[in-house]
């Protein structure tokens, strides 16, 4: 039986890596992947606490989070394709239409 602490620590590490990649990377696909990584980290924490507390609410919530992640991936990748088609780049610094 693995202690719940280990799962929570792994989840925190993964979330930190997601934030790290989100801030440091300039490729829009990598940034998008790091968002998915953060969602996965939160899911892991949800399931770990659900098991630790003996309640299923966390698992149900994970299902909702997965649904949101899936629809986010569909729309977000559509936006990425549109950006790449209009700007011929994946670098987020080149996408500065709203900057003054």
């Amino acid at each position: 039986m693995v202690p719940t602490n280990y799962y929570v620590i792994l989840s925190a590490i993964l979330f930190g890596l997601g934030v790290f990649a989100f801030i440091f990377k300039r490729n829009i696909i990598t940034i998008f992947m790091s968002i998915e990584l953060m969602l996965n980290a939160v899911n892991l924490a949800f399931v770990a606490f659900s098991q630790a507390l003996g309640k299923l609410d966390g698992q149900v919530f994970v299902l909702f989070v997965i649904v949101v992640a899936a629809s986010e991936a569909a729309v977000g990748l559509g936006i990425i394709i549109l950006i790449a088609r209009n700007r011929q780049t994946l670098n987020v610094e080149r996408v500065d239409l709203l900057k003054l």
Partner: protein, 155 residues
Amino acid sequence: MRNDSGTRRFLCAGGTGRDWRGQLDFAEASAGLYLLLGAEFVAAVQIIVYGGAIMVLFVFVIMLLNAGVEEHTSISKMAGAPGLLLVVALAGFVAATIAKSTESVQAAPQTGEIASTLGISNMIFKDFVYPFELTSFLILVAVLGATVLAQREKS
């Protein structure tokens, strides 16, 4: 072991621009962790949705867009220091929270076997039935949005 290599490859992915498989590995690995935690249904959903749908979308987009090595400008290098500070602050906050709540988490009693999938279906279709229906609406909106975004512009 598998999880470790997946995470490492995920980190390397942006650097080389060649190895993008890390996140697919991670999706499978976290499904294994869910199995270890006794959440069979969530593990199955994770494999089907992440391995079957989301990662295929990612791989297709990467194939279409031909992602190469990412480039850094002087401003993006300058932004590294405050970004690192922010990440360290977040990690410290999370570590402090975990350290503070360690005992209560460990002290939770182990409540034998719970019928995981049956309980989840009961909760989704009884307690959370309105959020569940709203979820289907969200998916409809996402499908419509993706279709509209991806269609060729008339010119």
